[in-house]
């Protein structure tokens, strides 16, 4: 698994910009709720990038194992 980071920039007017690095799929949505809770803030704008649609390697392996188990 690659590095997973959240970059949070807090402006002097109080506005917050956050970007995730290396977080794929559903983990992105979890990040929104996590940041809203941690920062006591409300998301007013969001944008998904191509990385969101990528399937984490760990998930691919898990699905494969699951499928194999069902066949037996």
């Amino acid at each position: 698994m690659g590095i997973e980071q959240i970059v949070v920039r807090v402006a002097p007017n109080g506005a917050i910009h956050a970007e995730t690095i290396g977080l794929k799929g559903p983990k992105c949505l979890e990040t929104i709720a996590l940041l809203e809770e941690l920062l006591e803030a409300q998301t007013v704008w969001s944008s998904f990038t191509s990385e969101y649609d990528e399937v984490p390697i760990g998930t691919q392996q898990a699905i494969g194992v699951d499928d194999e188990l069902r066949q037996h």
Partner: protein, 150 residues
């Protein structure tokens, strides 16, 4: 990058900025300049007013700030956002200038509060601070490693 977000702290109204000044006359014939702010938190407002060198007094429903010749009386509107009436040596041009100064001081208070919360709460969310940088525009950037999160 997988997601990009803009968040507004709950201590601020999610409107772009404070609203323009509206001039009225009160029952005593004094000119009152009314301005709607974006500020919600009373403690941060008091701290911001103090930063602007105001003499601040607080009662149950209002916060009053006095500078030389100008008085600002803050009250919450129906949605909990502070609105302010200026009296004294103030007009429709001066009132927004004063609110702008208070708004900037409030923003800095919110910034410090947000950063303190993040630094305090990140470890319990399984995150560690990889770096903290103050930018040229006085923004503060925190890079958080989330590898430890389950």
């Amino acid at each position: 990058m997988s997601i990009s977000l803009v968040l507004i702290p709950l201590t601020m109204a999610a409107v772009g900025a404070w609203q323009a000044s509206r001039k009225e006359t009160d029952a005593d014939g004094r000119t009152v300049c009314h301005v709607q702010t974006r500020m919600r938190d009373s403690e941060l407002l008091i701290a911001a007013l103090t930063d602007t060198k105001a003499a601040v007094t607080r009662s149950a429903q209002t916060i009053t700030a006095d500078w030389h010749g100008v008085r600002a009386q803050f009250q919450r509107d129906s949605s909990g956002i502070w609105q302010v009436d200026f009296t004294g040596e103030v007009d429709e041009q001066r009132a927004p200038e004063i609110v702008s100064a208070i708004d900037q001081a409030y923003g800095r208070q919110v910034q410090q509060t947000v950063l303190a919360k993040l630094l305090d709460r990140a470890p319990s969310a399984g995150m560690t601070v990889a770096s903290q940088t103050v930018e040229d525009d006085e923004s503060v950037t925190l890079v958080l490693n989330v590898g430890a999160r389950s």
